[in-house]
């Protein structure tokens, strides 16, 4: 079997992994004035920053799982590149959510058992273990991370802004080449210090502000 169907399964928004609780900082951005027209640049800036870190982390973790190398340096490299504490916390919570599902799907996976033994693994590392188990290639894993982020923001934008749902999906479609480039860039990475380290201080600030607001639709 090709990995296409497993990719579709893992990329499906209907997956019970708490995706509907996430806006990828879009809710905080809208609160501080981001308009509907600015959502595509917002998505692009995520691809250039936080998503790059997540995808790089996933790919390096995948390599190390397959090579039998320890994952702790990957966890540390990811944490060092994710300075906002609420973002780290969100990724770990989503990692727990994803782990619950994939352990049910692949109960005998040694890769998932290894990741389950880590202290609060972040989402890209759990995703890497699912990829290692199901034979998903590094570039495919990068595509999965990037695509999921585009759809998370697009889907949240429909709840937060006055939009035609067809517009939101068009934005995702238009940004697919960017997602493909990102996946190609990170696919060859094998070492924790290879993981890109861009910074996006505005996203970090939004994540931190959002964590302290009491009026919100989305968890993050």
């Amino acid at each position: 079997m090709s990995d296409d169907l497993l990719m579709m399964l893992l990329a499906d928004a209907r997956l019970p992994v708490a995706g509907h609780t996430q806006s990828g900082q879009l809710e905080a951005a809208v609160r501080s004035g981001l308009t509907a027209e600015q959502v595509p640049p917002f998505m692009r800036s995520r691809l250039a920053s936080v998503v790059r870190v997540e995808a790089g982390t996933a790919v390096v973790a995948l390599h190390r799982l397959r090579a039998g190398l320890p994952l702790e340096p990957v966890c540390d490299a990811w944490a060092a590149r994710t300075p906002a504490a609420p973002m780290r916390d969100t990724s770990r919570t989503l990692g727990r959510a994803l782990l619950r599902l994939v352990r049910r799907l692949f109960p005998d996976s040694p890769h998932l058992a290894e990741v389950a033994g880590l202290e609060r693994p972040c989402r890209p590392i759990v995703l890497a273990a699912a990829a290692a188990t199901s034979g998903i290639a590094p570039a495919s894993l990068g595509r999965l991370v990037a695509y999921d982020d585009l759809q998370t923001v697009a889907s949240a934008s429909l709840k937060l802004l006055p939009l035609d749902p067809l517009d939101a999906t068009s934005w995702v479609h238009e940004l697919l080449p960017g997602a493909e480039r990102l996946a190609t860039d990170v696919a060859p990475l094998t070492e924790p210090h290879h993981i890109p380290a861009p910074s996006a201080p505005q996203l970090d600030l939004w994540a931190q502000t959002h964590a302290h607001t009491t009026r919100r639709l989305f968890s993050a």
């Binding site: 708490a18 995706g19 509907h20 009491t214 009026r215 968890s219």
Partner: protein
Amino acid sequence: MPENATKNDRGLRIGVCGPVGTGKSSLIALLCRELSADLEIGVVTNDIYTDEDARFLRSAGVLDPARIRAVETGACPHTAIRDDVTANLIAVEELEEEFAPLDVVLVESGGDNLTATFSKGLVDHQVFVIDVSSGDDIPRKGGPGIERADLLVVNKTDLAPYVGVDPVAMVSDAGSVREGRPVIALSRTDPASVEALVEWVRSELARHRGGALVPADPGPMAPHFHADGTSHTHDHQHA
């Protein structure tokens, strides 16, 4: 991991759902007040837009504020209690780990419509709350919560004279669609009704501990009739 524990090794998880404004938070505050002296309790709330319910419960002073968690559901309360319960389940598990052993965890759904009920994957038992001021036709409208939740509460019966509703008829209408499942007409000013609610929780907790409680799904669909004269529920698929 907690999900591997057999059900009666952990506390009883009770869901409270029903339309907006029917008194779900007040009912939970009431249960905490009546039960927290001798039971260890945790609460998870699912407001749609604020943490108002969690704050209400914390300010009610009936439970240690750390035992009350608000979960944001991305404006999808129905999804969060039924299709993708992950965020709620994680909150429940965290409470159970942090305050072990808990006897009861109460999960309050964000106010939704008459069709929203909990998944068996999230709670063992569920209470559906309606109130007299929503109108006496609500029980007759039915739906999975009204017809098949483990307990139906008709709340705020003390307001009945002011909204021109006969609570006795409302309870009777509800009873006729529930095939013997319990209905409690509740008012926080009526100690006997409060006692009936508290007793229900205690007896369900005893059944849970004894392994006799088997979660039942109210289901998304009412039993219905087909043109060929057959009727069925949606425990199985259409042919």
